[in-house]
């Protein structure tokens, strides 16, 4: 392994070079020597680029100062499964109705996981196991994160990736029961986590996934940097719900890459209610005809939270539909950023792309930066975008009050209705009900609604 020399002024980068050194034997155990070159390339790239700054157009509204002040620490410790089990037992997604995979501080915890018998053609396991079994080779990892180098969190994850969901479904197979993946921070193994997911859907395969980010009890700052690679074969269908419920001390980064082929359909839902700062990148590449993709999200922020969604949808082939629906509810002095780019290639005739971002501001001190962007190189397309930022509907509130419903309850009903526009798009009923409950609980805690 080569040693890395770093310029002195890149203090945060050098900290990651040191971290890499300290984790290298762990990486050797986890993914074997085969992946060391891949990791090294990621590290080199990151050390060269460093974290983005607000001078980068894609990061204009999201400062990473707090993240850069975190000194990354990692310790090779066994997770405290006792403490975690108590949390797991209270989770809303029951392991008789779901497959459950638990990762604590980035490491797979088999004793807390339940994987039901699967039909032939389904490989459901942690990425580390898939690597050990030879299901993933070095050249396969990272192949779907193409053009990701504008986002230095991806090479950083390449270098440090630990573990995560691996799901591969062969042609025509439906994964038995939804997969519930929990990424838990316990703080025992340090303050950094690098989950990596691979979801590979064969032709006409079907799956439902709920990805949940939680914590046990964490003191001090936390940095989570997750990367998900998704491939959708012809006519495959995937529904994926991401639920981010981290503590305010957390800096959460998640990058999703979806490559879809002919007639595939997918729904990706992002429920972003935790973390001091969260950045959720979704990049969907529609590389076949007649693909139908929905990106659907809700962020609820309070305190000094910042929730950032950065979406790119590329229409590279004719007759695809993409819909983005994002609603935000902001309280206290929180901030939200929504950046949605729709790119229609010359070949993308008959594209139908729609994007909406609606925000409700509960105080005068919140800030929303919303930036829709259309780049269209085909001449026969239907593309619309719209963004709204506003208060609750006064007339509706008065109507409810005039029927005897107290002001606070009336406001909550209206905000819940606004959130439901997003929640109701979840197709899986079990997940929808539980997410709805979590949304209610979150709204209950908002200072402006108390």
């Amino acid at each position: 392994m080569s040693t890395v020399t770093v310029k002195e002024d890149q203090s945060s980068s050098s900290a990651y070079a040191e971290l890499f050194e300290s984790m290298s034997s762990y990486f050797g155990e986890l993914t074997g020597s085969e992946f060391m070159q891949f990791r090294q390339r990621g590290l080199d790239h990151f050390l060269k680029s460093g974290f983005p700054t607000t001078r980068d157009e894609d990061w204009r509204f999201t400062s990473l100062k707090t993240l850069e002040s975190i000194k990354p620490v990692w310790k090779n410790t066994e997770p405290d499964t006792g403490a975690v089990r108590q949390i797991i037992d209270t989770l809303p997604f029951n392991d008789s109705q779901f497959n459950r995979m638990v990762f604590i501080d980035g490491q797979y915890c088999e004793s807390l996981s339940t994987i039901h018998d699967q039909p032939e053609g389904v490989d459901l396991m942690p990425v580390s196991a898939a690597i050990r079994l030879g299901l993933v080779r070095e050249e396969e990892i990272g192949q779907y994160t193409c053009d990701s180098h504008s986002n230095s969190f991806v090479p950083l994850n390449d270098a440090f990736f630990q573990d995560g969901l691996f799901l591969r479904a062969a042609k025509g197979v439906e994964v038995h029961k939804p997969v519930h993946v929990v990424y838990l921070a316990s703080g025992l193994a340090g303050n950094v986590q690098f989950p990596r997911q691979m979801i590979l859907m064969g032709e006409q395969a079907k799956a439902t996934i709920i990805e949940e980010h939680r914590h046990v009890s964490v003191d001090g700052p936390l940095f989570k940097n997750a990367v998900s690679e998704i491939f959708l074969g012809d006519q495959s269908h995937l529904e994926c719900v991401k639920l981010q419920l981290e503590p305010e001390s957390s800096q959460h980064f998640g990058s999703y890459f979806i490559q879809a082929t002919k007639e595939a359909s997918f729904l990706l839902h992002s429920f972003d209610v935790g973390a001091g700062l969260s950045r959720n990148s979704f990049k969907a590449m529609l590389n076949g005809q007649n693909i139908n993709g929905v990106l659907n999200g809700l962020y609820i922020t309070r305190g000094k939270q910042l929730s950032d969604h950065h979406m790119i949808v590329e229409h590279n082939q004719p007759s695809c539909e993409s819909h983005e629906y994002f609603n935000g509810i902001l309280d206290d002095k929180s901030k939200a950023v929504f950046h949605g780019r729709i790119h229609v290639d010359q070949k993308g005739q008959k594209t139908d792309a729609k994007q909406t971002n609606k925000n409700i501001l509960l105080t005068d001190d919140v800030v929303v930066d919303t930036k829709p962007q259309l780049e269209i190189y085909a001449d026969d397309v239907k593309c619309t975008h719209g963004a709204t930022v506003g208060q609750l509907d006064d007339e509706a509130q008065f109507y409810l009050q005039a029927r005897g419903i107290p002001r606070r309850q009336a406001r909550k009903m209206l905000i819940h209705a606004f959130a439901s526009e997003i929640v109701d798009r979840i197709q899986n009923e079990l997940i929808r009900e539980q997410v709805d409950r979590i949304v209610w609980d979150t709204l209950d805690e908002l200072p402006s609604l108390k």
Binding site: F398, A402, G404, I405, M413, L414
Partner: protein, 254 residues
Amino acid sequence: MLEIKNLVAGVEDNQILNGIDLKINPGEVHAIMGPNGSGKSTLAQVLAGRDGYEVHEGEVLFDGKDLLDLAPEERAGEGLFLAFQYPVEIPGVNTTYFLKSAVNAVRKYRGLPELDSTEFLKLVREKMKILELPQSFLKRPVNEGFSGGEKKRNEIFQMAMLEPKLAVLDETDSGLDIDALKAVAEGVNRLRSPDRSQLVITHYQRLLDYIVPDFVHVLYKGKIIHTGGKELALELEERGYDWIIKEHNEPVTA
């Protein structure tokens, strides 16, 4: 039951009501008629407690309580109901859930136990029959995509559910065909009782064929300028408002 004394109110600098006096006793039905812009809807909004209307002078007593001092939901709790001229569409709020929240909020205010789901549904079915509303209605979001007639029926249905002491009907007849008008009037009449009162605000005499008032008041430029019995409505229908306005402007000197 309701006593309005010298009510002066408006929106921002625009004074619309210029000293209204009106007394409604239990069991009485009063109609307020008047030309466009006379302040009829403003009176309804001020009584219900809509934000943005300022009361500059006067008072309103509801069963002896200072109505203007109460929040809109407290007024509803006390037994005041406003049937909206333009019922608001509330996407995402399901009608059953809305009604149950309203009924139980009002019951709670009145010190009554809340209804459980079975009791609530029983009440709903009973009241729905009166207004001939389809069951599917309950599953839809409040007023969303309803026709004009459905919205007005929904108002009266809510009124039936909440059993107010005083119902203020703000142009409930507007936009209704004759069948819908009859159904709405039938719903209103069923709620008539010696201890309930109604204040019917309307532009046309038509509604008053079905909801027969004890008193008819003419509102003009924010003041009640004439009061009569139910026959006044017919006279207004035939002769218009001009003769009353003229009498008001040039008081006959003996």
